[in-house]
């Protein structure tokens, strides 16, 4: 549907049907309009933006891609710039400022009012991955001695400047967080009740310096729409909104998945990343893994006499290395994801090893059996080669067990060493397991055939 609408809009723009365009924009959600902007030719963007009703313009602007925002800002008069930035939530404005080149930032700050400028500068001071950089500073605060009807009056008065009203925070005169109350509970209460008697006082909050991933997890745990952010002196300084927390969760998951595939994570989207950036994000691990695979090659070279005497051995290398790699990556994936969603903790280390050991016994016996039978059928008429089925089966048992133990323990060790467990995923595990597989296989074969 979005595509058709985009085509229609382009046609209307070309035909200068501005009144019709305005009607269409007014009945379209801001997120959809922002998506349309990203598909339009550059020259149409300022024109269409100026057709937006004033109350939708800022919201749409906040949802657009950074390069389109920059294009628009460069085309804005000082007055237009001021109008848009006055309408934006301050945390959105700070996010935009962070993405812009220095000369654009200067113009933006010159055209915002001093109060806003001060808050933007303060938000930009927080470390990039902190709760402080994520929070919104426009929330509703109430005082403990207010009555419910005072509170509702205050909400009505400050509502236009607040990003959310669903949860109101109760603070003392020095802004210390005392508790919170939802609009729902306010509406449920009698008008003359006192806030401090009906507010929730369970102290759940985050600090400005907390990692934003932990903030998102905490919000998910408690199903909070907003999470209060306090400074070291427990003063309320902002709130984190659920939609920003969802974005953090999604970005962190993408990072994890990319790390698990040996890619250095970036913030840019797939098509917005340049070819060289794509290559740069992938080359480091490819080189590391390539060079460590040479080590496996060295181990293979060491067994040259064995496979020269019995070349049939070589044909089983891909299957054995592959099975080891797959078992290792299954185990490491279960552990990495389990830790990411807080189902597995470091204290479970031995519990995990013991579980994986039991599972690896079941798996290795099943795989060894299937393989043994298959090779026996293949070489039924050749008693010499029939012995191979036993070598392969024994090797598989050893390889599967070792691979699963390596696969489950390395991500936990990484976490213990304060590294990202996702780094210990399939590619690295596979390379380590490959070497172990070759070692086990040839030692079994040499013992068995006296090579």
């Amino acid at each position: 549907m979005a595509i058709t609408l985009e085509k229609t809009i382009e046609a209307l723009l070309n035909g200068k049907k501005y009144a019709t365009l305005r009607d269409i924009l007014m009945t379209t959600n801001e997120a959809d309009i922002a998506a349309i902007f990203s598909e339009l030719p550059e020259e149409n963007i300022p024109l269409l933006f100026r057709l937006l009703p004033k109350d939708m313009a800022a919201d749409t602007f906040a949802l657009m891609d950074a390069d389109q925002q920059e294009l628009l800002i460069r085309g804005f008069s000082d007055n237009e710039l001021k109008e848009v930035f006055d309408e934006l939530y301050v945390d959105d404005a700070a996010d935009i400022v962070e993405e812009m080149p220095a000369n654009v930032v200067k113009r933006i700050l010159a055209n915002t009012n001093p109060d806003t400028r001060k808050i933007i500068n303060e938000i930009l001071k927080y470390p990039e991955d902190s709760a402080g950089s994520l929070m919104s500073v426009e929330y509703i605060s109430l005082r403990p001695k207010m009555t419910v009807s005072d509170a509702i009056k205050r909400i009505r008065r400050t509502i236009t400047n607040a990003e959310t009203i669903y949860t109101c925070y109760v603070t003392d005169d020095n802004r210390h967080l005392l508790g919170y109350i939802s609009v729902r509970n306010l509406l449920l209460s009698e008008k003359e009740e006192i806030i401090e008697e009906i507010m929730e006082t369970t102290p759940i909050y985050v600090h400005t310096t907390d990692d934003k991933e932990d903030v998102a997890k905490k919000m998910g745990k408690y199903d909070f729409v907003t999470m209060p952010v306090v400074d070291v002196e427990m003063r309320l300084v902002g709130i984190v909104m659920f939609d920003d927390a969802i974005d953090v969760m999604q970005d962190e998951t993408t990072e994890d998945i990319e790390r698990m595939a040996a890619i250095s994570p970036t913030e840019e989207s797939y098509f917005k990343t340049s070819d060289f950036k794509h290559a740069k994000n992938r080359i480091l691990w490819l080189l590391v893994l390539m060079l460590s695979a040479m080590f496996t090659g060295k181990i293979l070279d060491y067994y040259e006499t064995a496979f020269s005497a019995l070349p049939l051995l070589v044909g089983f290398i891909p299957m054995l290395m592959g099975t080891g790699g797959n078992c290792g990556s299954q185990s490491s994936t279960m552990i990495i994801r389990g830790m990411a969603i807080d189902q597995i903790h470091l204290k479970d280390f031995f519990k995990v090893i013991w579980l994986e050991l039991r599972v690896s016994l079941i798996l290795s016996l099943a795989l060894a059996l299937v393989n043994g039978v298959r090779i026996m059928i293949m070489y039924w008429n050749n008693p010499d080669k029939l012995a191979l089925s036993l070598v392969i089966s024994i090797s598989i048992i050893g390889i599967v067990i070792i691979s699963q133990i390596i696969g489950c323990s390395l991500p936990m060790l990484a976490k213990k060493l304060k590294l990202d467990p996702a780094v210990m995923a399939a590619p690295l595990i596979t390379t380590i397991v490959d070497a172990a597989s070759i070692f086990i296989y040839f030692n079994v074969a040499i013992k068995f055939f006296n090579l």
Copy 2:
């Protein structure tokens, strides 16, 4: 902190300090209490549950694990069961009923009132992955002709039965969805304004039969706290809450990650899954991949004369297969995740291939160069083996390009065929790429050394 609290609670339970326990529970969030329950010995669960204040008991119950819920229900008198289920939101009750064995379900339904029972049965009729199975049926609906003050009165009256009040839905007498209005806008408006003049009419909703993953994505796109669910006749039948949507997103991501590691996804958590279930979830793909790796082995067997004549060739097999596998899994991961978060669409097929081709050229040349130089240094005094550096470099170029093209195209083909793209991830890609790598490598070597 949770662990310390749990130990304290156990000590207090043993010391029969019930008054103290009750005080602690009252200042603790329900999600934390549910987490404590999951750590307690079974015999303490009913006792601690009975100490919970009435208004917290149902919320805590809804957040507990299914096995603990079952334990409690089996211990409840009919009266206690009725009390807890009367307090639960109907969609939570339906979720619990779904997890319980038949005899427990029978007791639950016998002890809920007829209206609730009817709604539970209706929710259970929706397909497991549909919006209908996810939705809540307790929302606030307004009529178009109401004034703002009528609306606020109605909200106050129906608030206790609604899971959320932040967005109120406007319906006609036949429950057709006409629009929505937030409590925020109600509070901002004059008391005598008419709802249909101030409500939002942008029609964003989902159908009861829509896939719950699509519902979660749509809510993320529009940053909705609640999403209305309509039936085929456009009648409002429920709403999906943001916290349930977040759970869906997280579960779907876990499923994707597990599929990408060749594991059949389950809904149970890591430690709650039995050893045999773990083995069952992993064995299928291990078998498939093991047998297809035999195919790579067959290709290797075919080149026996080549590596018997020049055994040095064997040592490079792990490096070449590994590099191909890693390149393929990097590409497939980028595409699978890109499609999951809607950054890459099927219509981008050729754009993706072209991008990956360009990136693969950069990567392959860099890797070929590093390898060529390394082998030249290794075998500097041996002109014969020096030629090997050229064979390896040329093979790498071919392998990297082919691997990335396979890696990026297979997930998109899977999607085109309405399969889950995540199935086409590292393990399968690696197996396919292994065969291609061996084929390229030995053909280059045979040409070069006239083997």
